[in-house]
């Protein structure tokens, strides 16, 4: 059973429907205590970083997520659910994240819009893999596909080993996916990426890190 973390924001409905379509059994989890009852954890996210981390802390979900990740459960973060894994974000001030992946979440460069690259970065873009390391099993169905991104903030992990796939917008590279051990997290929205996104979710359901 997949536990879909419900912290009062985000597009839970879409993520739940897509996971079900991919063959998963999903339950929304609002109570931090019960997160341990699930085999796999998914953290979705739409909105602002400070609200997200604030809501996770208030419900005690921050500690529960860390505990379940430490226990080795497969974890999928989506969009803001990826960004909150980082050390900190500069969105509306400086805010600490969960600190599971070293790195900072920053805005796209200020001159992006002036150069004709609209903010938010919105639409279908690439998932670029390094030719020097094997593709992550959860992400490999995306080779050669485009996926749906919508975000104004982005990140790049400090440790290159944590970068699972990249994307570039306006000649500015950023993380399309980060992870380590039993964590995989994506900047784009698999639940909005049609067949490519559903293929990622199927791969996540079968992943045994």
């Amino acid at each position: 059973m997949i536990g879909l973390v419900n912290y009062g924001m985000g597009n839970l409905h879409s993520v739940a429907k897509a996971l079900e379509k991919a063959g998963g059994d999903v339950e929304l989890v609002s109570d931090a205590e019960s997160l341990k009852n699930y085999d796999r954890i998914v953290l979705p996210g739409v909105g602002a970083f400070r609200d997200c981390i604030g809501a996770l802390k208030e419900s005690g979900m921050d500690a529960a997520i860390k505990a379940e990740i430490a226990a080795g459960k497969p974890f999928l973060g989506i969009c803001l659910g990826m960004q909150v894994l980082m050390d900190q974000s500069l969105e509306f001030g400086r805010h600490k994240g969960l600190g599971l992946i070293p790195g900072i979440v920053t805005h796209f460069p200020e001159d992006h819009a002036a150069r004709g690259f609209k903010i938010p970065h919105m639409g279908w873009n690439d998932v670029i893999f390094s030719s020097e390391k094997p593709q992550h099993p959860v992400l490999s169905p995306l080779a050669g596909k485009q996926v749906y991104y919508v975000h104004s903030y982005c990140c790049m992990p400090e440790n290159p080993d944590h970068l699972l796939a990249a994307c570039s917008y306006g000649n500015y590279p950023f993380a399309a996916a980060v992870g380590r051990d039993n964590i995989v997290a994506v900047q784009f929205h698999p639940e909005k990426s049609q067949s490519a996104g559903l293929a990622l979710m199927e791969a996540f359901l079968q992943w045994n890190p």
Binding site: K21, G116, K118, M122, G123, Q194
Partner: protein, 252 residues
């Protein structure tokens, strides 16, 4: 590379897809869920639903329709029509919309856009601008194009972008329904003036028009209704044509 988006637009009234010409002469164009599934299979990049008869009584119908569509297709859904308050936005997002389009309410309460962007994120908030040529400039109209506002459309789009709207859905009411192509000077003027994304709307009759909107209008996405609804072209044919013109599109 970021692809340019092709967005079929479904005007809905009382839970049915309809199509009008210059905002009048409404005719029935089918079931919204069936249409959404068809466009999903054709590889549409997003879908936009506009409730053109938005009224208090039809809100529940709209929410149910969005929920049903979101259960069948896994792509971004923008929904608009009659959005007046943060609670309307919240309800639509909860029903399964990814983006909510605000039109008339933004004119009367511009701060709503700012509050909505702060609360739900810029990526969620679309401002629909219905513009019409008046003398030497373009002016915003409200209530489905029936009421003039005296507001300069380009300046308005800039203000809405500055307030945090992530996208402007820009409809030329002069072009809408004519099949003579987008209002390219309007589209370009708005797109070049703002940092938010611009979706060009109104007037598409051929695939060349889509290319013009993207290349000459500098739009980030192109929206069309009747050429897709009535089977004149499929989304795949549109993408094939745009690709042949050197425009980056996603091949599904």
């Amino acid at each position: 590379m970021l692809s340019k988006r092709i967005i079929p637009c479904l005007d809905v009234a009382h839970g049915r897809v309809v199509k009008g010409v210059q905002f009048v002469d409404i005719i029935d164009a089918g079931d919204p869920v069936e249409a959404a599934i068809k466009y999903d299979q054709q590889g549409a990049d997003e879908l936009t639903f506009l409730d053109i008869r938005a009224s208090h009584e039809s809100r529940d119908t709209l929410y149910h329709m969005v929920t049903e569509v979101a259960e069948h297709v896994f792509m971004p859904l923008t929904v608009g029509g009659g959005v007046k308050a943060l609670s309307d936005i919240e309800n639509l997002l909860h029903a399964g919309a990814d983006k909510v389009s605000i039109n008339t309410a933004a004119i009367f309460t511009p701060e709503l856009v700012k509050e909505a962007a702060e609360r739900f994120g810029s990526s969620t908030i679309v401002v629909a601008v219905d513009a019409k040529s008046v003398d030497d400039h373009w002016e915003c109209f409200t209530h489905g194009g029936r009421k003039p506002t005296g507001i300069n459309a380009v300046e308005w789009a800039k203000r809405m972008s500055d307030y945090g709207a992530g996208e402007i859905l820009l409809t030329s009411m002069d072009a809408d329904g004519t099949k003579n192509g987008y209002d390219i000077p309007l589209t370009r003027a708005v797109s070049d003036a703002i940092s938010a994304n611009v979706v060009a709307s109104g007037g598409v009759g051929s695939l060349e028009h889509l290319a013009e909107g993207l290349k000459e209008g500098h739009a980030d996405a192109v929206l069309a209704a009747s050429i897709f609804h009535f089977g004149t072209y499929t989304i795949a044919e549109a993408k094939g044509y745009l690709a042949s013109q050197g425009i980056p599109v996603r091949q599904a």
